[in-house]
Structures are given as C-alpha cells and as structure tokens.
C-alpha cells in the first residue's frame, strides 16, 4: 500500500485538491462518495458486465514473436487497442458514467487531446442517453479530425478551444470553467489520472483492470504472474497507472513510463514533464510541471496529441521521486520508427501515444528470458493521416 493515495489525496508530496471554492461542493461530494459507490455490488456488477460485453474485455495479452526475435527478449503486448473505441480510455469513462448516474448528474463534460477520451466519453453518453460536451484544443481538432467527426456522430457537442497552444492543457482549462459555471447538473469526466483528488485515484482504479488481467494472463502464458518489466506511455498517466497498479507493491517488477520528448528533451519543443519539469500546482493538483521561473506554465510539444500536456498525474510524480518507476522519453522521430517496426513485424498499427512505450525497447537492456509487457494503449486508426504523410505511402 506504499504507493496508494492517503486520505488527504496525496501520493507522498504530490496530489491534493487545489480547487477554487467554486468546485468545492462537487469535489467534496466525489471525495466522500466515490469509494462507497465504486465498491458497491450494484456498481461492480454493472461495471464488470459492461467491461466484458461492451468494451470487449479481457483484452488479449499477445506474445509478439517477431518483435521478440528482433529485440532478443520476450515481448508481450497488452492489447488495449482492441477495446471498443480503440483505446484504454473507455475503461475509465464506463466507470465514471456509472458514477455520474449514481450522483444524479444529467450532463457530462470532458476534455480531450487525441480525441480518444472524447470519443470514449461521447460513447458512454450515447450508451446512457446523457448529454455530452467535449472541449478540444483547436490544434487537436485539426490534427485528430476523424475523432472529432466520431464524437459528433455519437451526439456530442465538440467545442474547439482557442486559448494558449490550443491543445490538451487549454481544453482542460475550459472544461474546468464549464464545471465552475454548471456545478449542479454536470459531472466532469477527466480523462487521465490528473486533476484534484479523488480523480487520480478514481481513474487509476478504473484503469487497474489492465494489470489485474495482465497478472492472470501472464500466469497462464508464462507460469508466473509477475513479468520482468512493464512499459507504458505517459501523458497524464492513466494507461500507465492501470498497467502498473497491481505491480506497484511487487518491487522486483520494473516499471517504465515513457514520456514524449517531442523534438528532444534539450529543445523547448518537448512534453517530457518529469525530465524538464519542477513541482507546482496546475489543474488543481500539486505535481511536476513544465514551467518558467515565474511559475507560468510553458507550452508543451509532441507529435502525439494525447501526450502533449505540461503536467503529469501525481502518482507518477511520486513514483519518479521515490524511484519506484523509471521514466524515459522518446522523440517524435524514434516513435515513428517504432510505429513502422510494429506495423511490419506484427501487423499491428499502434497509436502514436502507445508507440512511445515501444520506442523505449530501443533504450533499455533486456535479457533473453526477460518478460517485457508493453501496454499498447491504443490503435493507430486515428493517426493514419500523420503516418501517411510521414511515411509517404
């Protein structure tokens, strides 16, 4: 339990609920009720049923033979890309929509970067017949166009955000403003393990199904439920939190998070928060941030819209600080090479975000008998335009 949130919402020195009073009533209600609700039989039955019949869980743990040969070590892929809507994001939105219903909320808002969380939110809102508004940076609206169309077709209203860099951070600001203006009927479905307590813990719990399944599948396939290491990309950190969750206290399992280096960690065009950041408060959480000396948040950059965020979930800031997990960063260039490698070795086109985790395989030492599990958080369908432009097919 060393890496669990404490009752004040902290992971070590990181986390908390740095909320303006305008959000107090909503956050206080969530804080008081989330555990009781998500641990109730009622909730668990419906959650598990939907994960199975609607999301399509368990997602396969696939032994990637040709990729393993390439690296000379055993590589397994946790296929979150095969979930309904093409990423891990639906695990969380299913959980939160059920919670919102229990809280009597009738309107849902969300922020989105790559559009995967937006689509996952619009999907569960369609499933439950609840009104849905998604905030998305104007730059992301243009670089993730297919997802924008999907959200609209699902009945959501997509509001482009023109402030700042017009990416995920700005969409999050706008979603928070909406919640402040609509505190009574609205639930804010945050898409990652970020934001005020209890969101980081709540989202991690919903995503923890990933590592719960991994353990069972590893036991069946390798004879041990513990791998040598788990690798996952980190934007806010929800797929990584889910992939690490049940291994956190198994100290001999190596945990590796991979951030987006963008054009390189020594350039200003990066989103590698843990590498270049320092502690601060953003989006109601005390965590590691990309900022200048004056405490202004600096604009991140990554080719991958889902990792283009100047903060990181407080759990990961804590895992970094304590050394429980190791965090690496992969550049746009390295990531695109990994996309092509997986595509041509295994016939799987990964999301740009997920390919950051794959790119880390180039950077670590692996022994032949090591069991490496890469969390393949999403499918590359949404990124086809970027791939076609880059690779020139």
């Amino acid at each position: 339990m060393k890496y669990q949130v404490n009752e004040k919402g902290y992971y070590g020195e990181f986390g908390g609920a740095w909320i303006p009073e305008m959000m107090y009533t909503n956050i206080d209600e969530l804080k008081r009720r989330y555990l009781e609700i998500i641990e109730s039989d009622d909730f668990r039955n419906e959650f598990n049923q939907l994960l199975k019949d609607y999301v399509g869980r368990p997602s396969p743990l696939y032994f990637a033979r040709r990729l393993s040969e390439h690296y000379g070590s055993k590589i397994y892929l946790k296929r979150e890309d095969l979930n309904h809507t093409g990423s891990h994001k639906l695990n969380n939105t299913i959980g939160q929509i059920l919670l919102a219903q229990k809280l009597g909320k009738t309107r849902i808002i969300a922020e989105t970067g790559a559009g995967q969380h937006g689509v996952a939110t619009a999907t569960v809102c369609a499933l439950k017949g609840i009104k849905c508004v998604v905030y998305m940076g104007a730059l992301d609206v243009s670089r993730q166009a297919p997802n924008v169309k999907k959200m609209k077709m699902l009945g959501a209203e997509v509001i482009p955000v023109y402030s700042g860099n017009k990416t995920l951070k700005d969409a999050t600001n706008e979603a928070m403003r909406d919640w402040i203006a609509n505190p009574v009927d609205t639930h804010y479905i945050i898409g990652s393990v970020v934001g005020p307590h209890p969101y980081p813990d709540m989202v991690a719990r919903f995503q923890s199904v990933i590592s719960a399944e991994m353990k069972k599948q590893l036991l069946e396939q390798t004879g041990s439920e513990l791998p040598t290491r788990v690798l996952a990309c980190v934007g806010g950190g929800s797929n990584a939190a889910g992939a690490f969750y049940h291994f956190l206290d198994e100290e001999k399992v190596e945990l590796i998070g991979v951030e987006a280096a963008g054009k390189g960690i020594h350039t200003t065009e990066t989103a590698a928060t843990l590498t270049v950041g320092s502690p601060g408060v953003l989006h109601s959480s005390k965590t590691m941030l990309m900022q200048n000396d004056d405490g202004q948040i600096t604009e991140p950059y990554s080719i991958s819209a889902g990792l283009d965020y100047p903060g990181i979930g407080p759990l990961h800031a804590h895992l970094h600080k304590t050394g429980r997990a190791k965090f690496l960063a992969a550049t746009d260039e390295e990531v695109l090479q990994s996309v092509l490698l997986l595509t041509q070795k295994e016939g799987i086109i990964p999301a740009l975000e997920s390919a950051h985790a794959l790119a880390a395989l180039e950077k670590i030492e692996m022994k032949p008998d090591d069991v490496n599990v890469v969390n393949l958080s999403g499918s590359g369908n949404k990124d086809m335009e970027t791939y076609l432009n880059y690779f020139g097919y």
């Binding site: 740095w18 909320i19 305008m22 107090y24 009927d185 900022q291 004056d294």
Partner: protein, 260 residues
C-alpha cells in the same frame, strides 16, 4: 499598523466599491497609474491581478488581459518592483489576486514578506484551498499582517460558510452566481435567495459581492445585500491602450457610482 482592510470596513459599512484589474494590461507599466487613478476617483479597495498562464476560474476578458500582460512581460518580480513605492502616493487597501503557482514558485514566505514591506493588505488566491492554507501558510500570512480572503459561492453549504467565516479575517468574497439556476427559477430570483440567505446568516466578517457586477444597476443591487461589490471584467474591458487612462478610469467609476 492596523491592516487597511479592517480600517476600511470599520469606517465604511455600505457601498464599498472595489475594482479588479490585471497588472501589466493594457501596457506593462500602467500598474501604478491605474491604482492612483482608481483611488483618486473614489474607489475604496483595489484587487491587483497577478497574471497567470492558466486562469481556470476566470472568464474570457480576464483570460485575454492576462495573456496580454504576460506577453507584455509582467511577472511577480516585476510587479513587486513596480509597487515598491506605492504607499507614498496611495492609502486605500490593496489586495493581490492570482493563482497559487506563481506565488508558490516565488516562495510563499518571500511573497508574504514582500507584500508586507510594500504595504499590501491581503491576497485572494482562489486555488489555494482553506485546508492547505490553514495547515501550511496561515502563520506566515499573520506574521506579515496579510489577510487571505476566502470565497463562498451559491453552492457553499451553510456549515462550510460558517467554517469560512470563522477562518476569515478581512472580508468574505461572495461569488455572485454560478451561471446555473435552481430548479425552475430565474437567475435573478436564485441570486436574490442566495444573497438574502447569506445576509440572514449574520456573518461576523463583512462581505463583498463579485463576479458579474458590470454596471451601476448590478453594483447597487449587490450593495443592498453586502457591504460592497467588486467589478473586474467590466473594468478591464473599459481599458484600451488607445484611450487615455485618466479619462477612461474617471468615466468608468462615475458611471458605476451614478444613481440613475
């Protein structure tokens, strides 16, 4: 010296007129002039906004002014530099309003000390919640004769309001609306209920209403229920770099205080 905020509320019980502006907007070096002109025209209390890159509790006008102020080069260091001699010309209470991160990076201790040296009387830091403030920073604020002003909203429970009243020292900032109406009620009715409810609680601290106060009618209405009101966005919008500050400020203040 007794805190100027307490002096003000002892002397004046009604129609306290408070104005917010963003430091560094419209031009980087307007800060001192804006403060002087506001005092000269009869404003009772000023909130000086420290611009932040991600002002999540602010609407479009203050987002825009903050963005421009930062582009102009405003920083907390520079703001303190500009305000260094403000007490030679200005005597009304001054409050710094902003988000916590710039203050945190400056160092809360240093920040409070600088405020005290300069003669700042209070702060409004919306994303510094009460429990964090009390656990970590309260004594530092007290040592520096600095009030940390807390907010209440239409959703704040009675129990929480009592707790905030207990913890408050200068005044309570009543956020006027959340943009949402109660079941089947019009905004005005909902707001009236809220204002009356708070008034009837007989809080020990004075209160000032802010958010959405934009003209003399909304100002006068707010003053019926509280000791005064704060105007932010409407004032910021009235500042244009092509107008002479003296003229636009005196015109703005006159309009708010006019009785028609």
């Amino acid at each position: 010296m007794k805190n100027r905020i307490n002096q003000l509320f002892e002397k004046k019980k009604k129609n306290i007129f408070s104005v917010y502006f963003t430091a560094g907007f419209p031009n980087l070096n307007d800060t001192v002039k804006i403060i002087q002109q506001l005092e000269k025209n009869g404003v009772d209390l000023i909130e000086i906004g420290i611009p932040f890159s991600d002002p999540t509790a602010d609407g479009p006008t203050i987002q825009k002014s903050s963005e421009i102020a930062l582009k102009n080069g405003m920083s907390l260091n520079l703001l303190f530099e500009q305000l260094k001699e403000i007490r030679q010309s200005v005597s009304i209470p001054l409050v710094l309003m902003g988000y916590f991160n710039p203050v945190y990076q400056f160092g809360v201790n240093n920040f409070c000390k600088r405020c005290n040296e300069i003669g700042i009387d209070g702060t409004i830091l919306p994303d510094l919640p009460l429990d964090e403030f009390e656990a970590e920073y309260k004594s530092t604020f007290e040592e520096n004769n600095l009030h940390n002003i807390l907010l209440i909203t239409p959703q704040t429970s009675e129990e929480r309001i009592r707790q905030i009243d207990e913890a408050s020292t200068g005044f309570i900032y009543m956020v006027s609306s959340s943009g949402t109406t109660g079941a089947g009620k019009k905004v005005e009715d909902f707001q009236k209920d809220y204002f009356e409810r708070i008034k009837n609680m007989n809080l020990k601290n004075p209160s000032v209403i802010g958010f959405g106060i934009s003209d003399n009618a909304t100002f006068a209405n707010a003053c019926k229920y509280a000791n005064g009101a704060i105007i932010g966005s409407a004032f910021v919008s009235s500042l244009k770099s092509e107008f002479k500050l003296e003229d636009s400020i005196s015109e703005f203040v006159k309009k708010i205080l006019s009785s028609d």
